[in-house]
């Protein structure tokens, strides 16, 4: 990361010395939110800061974060990706290869660290950004006013995140804080927001009610995400959940392709042509092996 100048006093009011010093992740992330907002404002990009330091302090207690997450107005996503790369962020993981929900682009800046640029929030219907934007509020982070979702939507976003994660102590703590410690009135607001933003499935998954949604096209995807599954199960679920035929075809075409970005990040260098060829054949073979192992499991 970047060098840091420390100006320290020789006596009460002198400023003489300069030396290098570490910067905590907490400080760096708050400055990073400000940097992201600076770029967004300069480029006319509507985005909401979500999670991490963008959360209301009452919801953030005990949670740690390692990156900046923003949800971008769908029409502004392409412009945002270009604006951030122009401003010094480097693309690390693309939308299609980042997660089963194909929801975020991961960028890295030499000073500010990781930025997850979301084109959708898993569980919230894609056309809901406008409603979230209308209800937005502001959080001052690093001295900059950053647009954030209203408190009820913040609670919902944390709940949806718990829903798509494997059960964990952290997930339970998050639910405790954002849901069980909320007043009945606050819970009603979250329920209303879940309905308004088309987030009922993800909301119910967080509370173990996924089987209430067996007929939902996204059911299999949430099942794999929350309970785990093989690579093939994940791809089948992604194709099943895709809303249009074009999206389904695109996913089927992408499936056997080698994830070059992933290999580059894993190996710390771009793969060679022969390594790509080897990986092209190894990838489906791994998928078949996983499927075979799953079928042989006693509980399969």
């Amino acid at each position: 990361m970047s060098p840091v100048v420390v100006a320290s006093g020789r006596n009460n009011a002198a400023v003489t010395a300069e030396q290098q010093a570490p910067v905590s992740m907490a400080v760096r992330l708050q400055l990073a939110h400000a940097a992201v907002q600076w770029v967004a404002a300069r480029n006319g990009i509507d985005l909401l800061h979500i999670k991490g330091y963008a959360l209301d302090p009452t919801l953030r207690e005990g949670r740690s974060s390692t990156d900046v997450d923003v949800l971008v107005r769908p029409d502004h996503v392409r412009r945002a990706a270009r604006a951030f790369t122009d401003a010094g962020w480097r693309r690390v993981i693309g939308f299609e290869t980042g997660s089963a929900f194909s929801h975020s682009l991961t960028l890295l800046h030499p000073v500010w660290g990781y930025l997850d640029l979301h084109r959708l929030n898993p569980g919230i219907s894609q056309g809901s950004f406008g409603r979230m934007w209308e209800r937005r509020t502001r959080a001052v982070i690093g001295g900059f006013p950053c647009p954030v979702p209203d408190l009820a939507t913040q609670r919902l976003i944390v709940i949806l995140h718990v829903g798509r994660s494997h059960p964990s102590p952290r997930g339970r703590r998050d639910l405790e804080r954002v849901w069980y410690e909320a007043t009945p009135g606050e819970q009603n607001e979250v329920r209303a927001r879940a309905e308004e933003l088309g987030a009922q499935l993800g909301f119910d998954v967080a509370f173990g009610r996924i089987e209430d949604h067996r007929d939902d096209p996204a059911y299999r995807l949430w099942k794999v995400e929350s309970e785990g599954g093989t690579r093939l199960e994940e791809w089948r679920a992604r194709v099943h959940a895709a809303e249009t035929l074009v999206d389904k075809v695109r996913l089927v075409v992408l499936m056997p392709l080698v994830n070059v970005e992933h290999l580059e990040n894993l190996w710390g260098r771009p793969p060679t042509r022969s390594e790509l060829v080897r990986e092209f054949f190894a990838r489906p073979a791994r998928g078949v092996r996983e499927e075979w192992a799953r079928m042989r499991r006693p509980d399969a």
Partner: protein, 98 residues
């Protein structure tokens, strides 16, 4: 003679943590850490939306915080302000002499 006034640059992000200020000019950084007297002077600087402060005013404010005579900090404040300006962390505004 015009008097130079100062305030924090509007493109600077700042975070306070355990008595230190971490500041950075956006969008590139780097991050600068201000501690001790540097942090005190930073705290006394007006923000980018406030009226800029003259050097004499700054010296008085910093001296009061430090509990020393203004003459004892005058040179140091001038040096620090010049340093901040060279790092792009400070905005210098000229106003007509009084």
């Amino acid at each position: 003679m015009p008097d130079e006034c100062y305030r924090r640059h509007r493109d600077v992000a700042a975070v306070e943590d355990e008595g230190r200020w971490y500041v950075a000019h956006l969008p590139d950084g780097p991050i600068h850490c201000l501690e001790g007297s540097a942090a005190v002077i930073w705290e006394e600087l007006p923000t980018s939306t406030e009226a800029a402060a003259g050097r004499a005013d700054l010296v008085l404010l910093v001296a009061a915080r430090a509990g020393v005579h203004p003459d004892a900090v005058d040179g140091d404040v001038a040096d620090f302000v010049a340093r901040l300006a060279s790092l792009g962390l400070l905005e210098t505004v000229s106003r007509p002499g009084r």
